[in-house]
């Protein structure tokens, strides 16, 4: 079986930075990612897109080229289009275009990033409804811009995508924002954080200006959202300041924050804790990113939402930590190199309380009404989850067994937090006590033929006999 000192899952800022740091210290690094090019979600296709559409996408995007450039290192092997579907300790299985592969390494870094937080509301499964991140990926990766988008939700990414579409010559039709002016006022009481984040605030103000000058309409404090249409989305319904609105819409882009993608850390059995401000579970890791299992590390948004810069910093920090564990760096050298990174990370993180409060998730989507579909794959409504709970399903895994929510192809990525949220509300308990779906392989799709190819007939499973 092939070997590496360090296998990194995910070639976003965290994974790329960790690879560079670890390789620089002398480790052999295998970097796996299912995308055709490195960059992750945030720097998707950056090498090509920066050249072609750098103006539209902005400097925060094009700076990702530094990270992809650093992958050009003799000790880094980047395998593109490699889907990791199983992690057993530090033994990783993935499918590349040429078939299924296994690799053993001393350390594994999970840098699988974030997912957009599901935003269940009536009509959110209709064709024509996408996430704002999806529209941005289309722009970065394929140079395809959504025309006349209606953006719905809250958060800095909503503005960023709106501005990028505008610069691409496709001004959005409107922004329907779920945060309220009160949220912003409340957030400003975190003035220390706000002050540290003046850079963000300034940039935010500039984006809003750009949208205003282009005549893009903003509805702030929207509630009672519903997406209407029969075969595809046709309109966005909402109330705002006491008025009812119905905006015609061809394409609706949803966004209200991102949450860590915990599929791999869950499957490994790492402990997770509920992070109330982020409204999500995060794996329990030490400050270097090491989990409670030997050789298992996490960095980037998958370890807790911090954004691209924090991801890059935490990737570097983990890279140093791993290099030290491997004996490639002395403790003193590791600490010397990590000190500025750790303090830069602390500064970057200090803005989060402000952002989290200024742009809270849309409350009605955290515990959706009965008729709303929460599990997109198996088409299970919030009401069905509630009924299962009334029948005695105290936890998400029992609710899953009774309703099929979370059994579909996305394996609960989009309904997991909804199910936990609904059960928590019904029982008046903390989501942390309610828990989450158990994750199992395959983490990514893999055909039975590919799995079967890993079977070694000369080394069969020891079995105790056929018992059904």
């Amino acid at each position: 079986m092939p070997r590496a000192d360090l296998t990194i899952i995910g070639a976003g800022p965290a994974g790329m930075a960790a690879a560079a740091e670890a390789a620089g210290a002398g480790l052999n690094v295998l970097l796996l990612d299912e995308q055709p090019t490195p960059g992750g979600q945030v720097y998707r296709n950056v090498d090509e897109a920066a050249a072609r559409r750098g103006k539209i996408l902005g400097r925060d995007f094009t700076r990702g080229r530094a990270l992809t450039g650093a992958l050009n290192h003799p000790r880094i092997t980047h395998v593109a289009q490699a889907s990791v579907w199983s992690v057993e300790g530090t033994n990783v299985a993935y499918t590349a275009p040429d078939g299924a592969r296994e690799v053993v390494s001393d350390h594994v870094l999970i840098a699988t990033g974030a997912l957009e937080r599901a935003m269940p509301m009536p009509g959110w499964t209709l064709p024509g409804v996408m996430t704002a991140g999806a529209a941005q990926i289309m722009l970065k990766q394929s140079g395809i811009a959504v025309r006349e988008a209606v953006l719905v939700g809250s958060g800095p990414l909503l503005y960023l995508v709106a501005v990028q579409l505008l610069r691409a010559g496709c001004p959005p039709r409107a922004l329907v924002e779920t945060q309220t002016r009160g949220d912003m006022r409340h957030a400003l009481t975190h003035w220390r954080a706000a002050l540290r984040g003046w850079r963000y605030l300034q940039r935010g103000a500039a984006m809003l200006n750009e949208l205003r000058n282009a005549g893009v309409r903003r509805h702030v404090g929207a509630r009672d959202l519903a997406l209407l249409g029969s075969r595809r989305v046709e309109a966005v319904h909402f109330s705002c300041g006491g008025d009812l609105h119905e905006l015609p819409a061809e394409t609706v882009l949803l966004h209200h924050g991102v949450v860590p993608n915990v599929q791999a850390t869950r499957a490994l059995g790492l402990a997770h804790r509920w992070a109330p401000r982020q409204h999500a579970f995060v794996p329990v890791l030490d400050r270097w990113g090491l989990g409670a299992q030997p050789g298992i590390w996490g960095a980037g948004d998958g370890a807790g939402i911090g954004g691209a810069r924090v991801a890059e910093l935490s990737g570097r920090i983990a890279g140093l930590g791993i290099a030290h564990e491997m004996g490639a760096l002395s403790e003193a050298e590791r600490d010397r190199r990590a000190a500025p990174l750790l303090s830069a990370r602390a500064v970057e993180m200090s803005i989060r309380p402000f952002l989290d409060r200024a742009f809270p998730p849309y409350a009605a989507a955290l515990v959706p009404a009965d008729a709303v579909t929460v599990c997109r794959c198996e088409e299970v409504s919030a009401g069905e989850i509630r009924r299962a709970a009334e029948q005695g399903c105290a936890g998400p895994n029992q609710a899953k067994a009774f309703t099929r929510a979370g059994m579909g192809r996305c394996q609960g990525r989009f309904c997991g937090l909804s199910v936990t949220g609904i059960l928590a509300e019904m029982q008046g308990r903390d989501p942390g006590e309610i828990g989450y779906f158990r994750a199992r392989p395959p983490l990514r799709p893999v055909t039975l033929g590919e799995v079967a190819a890993l079977h070694d007939p000369d080394d069969p499973l020891v079995q105790a006999g056929p018992h059904g």
């Binding site: 199983s86 936890g395 009774f402 033929g449 190819a453 018992h467």
Partner: protein
């Protein structure tokens, strides 16, 4: 007193017995564990399987067949009561063999069992064109199959759900999220102490706690020698019709997903799925049904079977503490109908009770 009967364990076995006791006019409280408890009832393969049962124990073969024969009626009653679809298909099951030798061996053993049962044991050996006609998706590596007409499959999660709904409808109490940690023998009935401090009182107690019985049993004078055996299972995406009859290798459910399983591993309490297990299951399934090579694997899991030393059920009333019953088995889906329809008379000592003494713990004494 909370109820005539307290049942420890709300899995398939506990709920089947609870349902039967309720229908027999008893009041029942079922106490079941936490969300992450070990639950064979949530991880099993969903077969109603007579084939292979009791090859060296005709009484077990008979008991399994009795349950299989009751299943259709039992499912119908639950479906009528709850409106849920248990997806029961009982049109026979296949035991696939990859070599002529193992097929012949198997047929010989079934013939012997048939003789022991006085000729009443239906099975049929299928090879060549006959097998292809019955099961067109099968591949050339399969040498032949034994068809047992009483076998079938159902949706085990719907069974679990229907039972828990119907137990409530019948007036049973279901207390979930509570781990029973102490079973105090009767003063005025039994007291069940839970980890969260709750106590339930009942006239009699049924220990149907699956693997949990090993720890709780001795408090009531049972040996309860049950140990875990891991079964890993794979699920594919929903596929067009490919597999007609279920086998121990694979079954296709009504919505099209193919369920592949299960391994038989001694892995202690580790219920994870492993790549080695997954690869073995996938290889076997692809050998049996080559078209599966193209199918996407969607989910996998591992679950722990509740195994007694000889693989047969344990049905025992405590000698030390009368009024306490131990009921545990590996094939809880297959035996659900018998547990629901026949077992209550045995527990209640009523006429027409099946003879279950053969399944007592005495057989393990050395």
């Amino acid at each position: 007193m909370d109820a005539d009967f307290a049942i420890v364990g709300g899995g398939i076995v506990g709920l089947s017995v609870a349902w039967g006791l309720l229908r027999a006019g008893q009041s029942v409280v079922v106490v079941d564990g936490a969300d992450d408890a070990l639950r064979a009832s949530r991880g099993n393969f969903g077969l109603i399987w007579v084939q292979g049962k009791g090859l060296n124990a005709p009484h077990y073969a008979r008991w399994s067949r009795r349950s299989a024969a009751l299943w259709g009626d039992f499912a119908q009653e639950l479906e009528d009561n709850t409106g849920l679809d248990l997806a029961l298909r009982q049109e026979g099951g296949l035991d696939l063999h990859f070599s002529d030798g193992s097929l012949a061996d198997c047929a010989t053993r079934y013939a012997a069992l048939r003789a022991e049962l006085g000729g009443d044991y239906p099975f049929e050996v299928l090879t060549g064109a006959a097998l292809m006609r019955e099961e067109p998706g099968i591949g050339p590596k399969v040498a032949g199959a034994v068809l047992h007409p009483e076998d079938g499959h159902a949706n085990p999660l719907m069974l679990l759900r229907a039972l828990s709904e119907d137990v409530r409808r019948l007036g049973g109490r279901l207390e979930t999220g509570r781990m029973v940690s102490q079973l105090l023998p009767p003063g005025e009935g039994f007291a069940l102490g839970c980890a969260d401090g709750t106590v339930f009182h009942a006239g009699r107690v049924v220990l149907a706690a699956g693997l949990g019985a090993a720890a709780l049993g001795p408090q009531l004078g049972f040996a309860a020698p049950v140990t875990p055996e891991r079964g890993q299972v794979l699920i594919t995406e929903k596929l067009p019709p490919l597999i007609r009859r279920p086998s121990l290798i694979a079954r296709q459910v009504g919505e099209g997903a193919v369920q592949i399983g299960a391994t038989n591993e001694r892995a202690g309490l580790d219920d994870r799925s492993t790549r080695k297990g997954m690869a073995q299951l996938a290889a076997e399934a692809v050998a049996a049904y080559p078209a599966l090579a193209q199918a996407q694997l969607v989910r996998s899991w591992g679950a722990l079977r509740v195994m007694s030393p000889d693989g047969l059920p344990i049905y025992q009333e405590s000698e030390a503490v009368p009024g306490a019953f131990l009921i545990t088995c590996h094939s809880g889906i297959t035996l659900a109908a018998a547990h629901a329809r026949l077992m209550p008379n045995w527990i209640l000592g009523r006429d027409g009770a099946p003879d279950l003494e053969v399944f007592g713990e005495a057989r393990f004494a050395v």
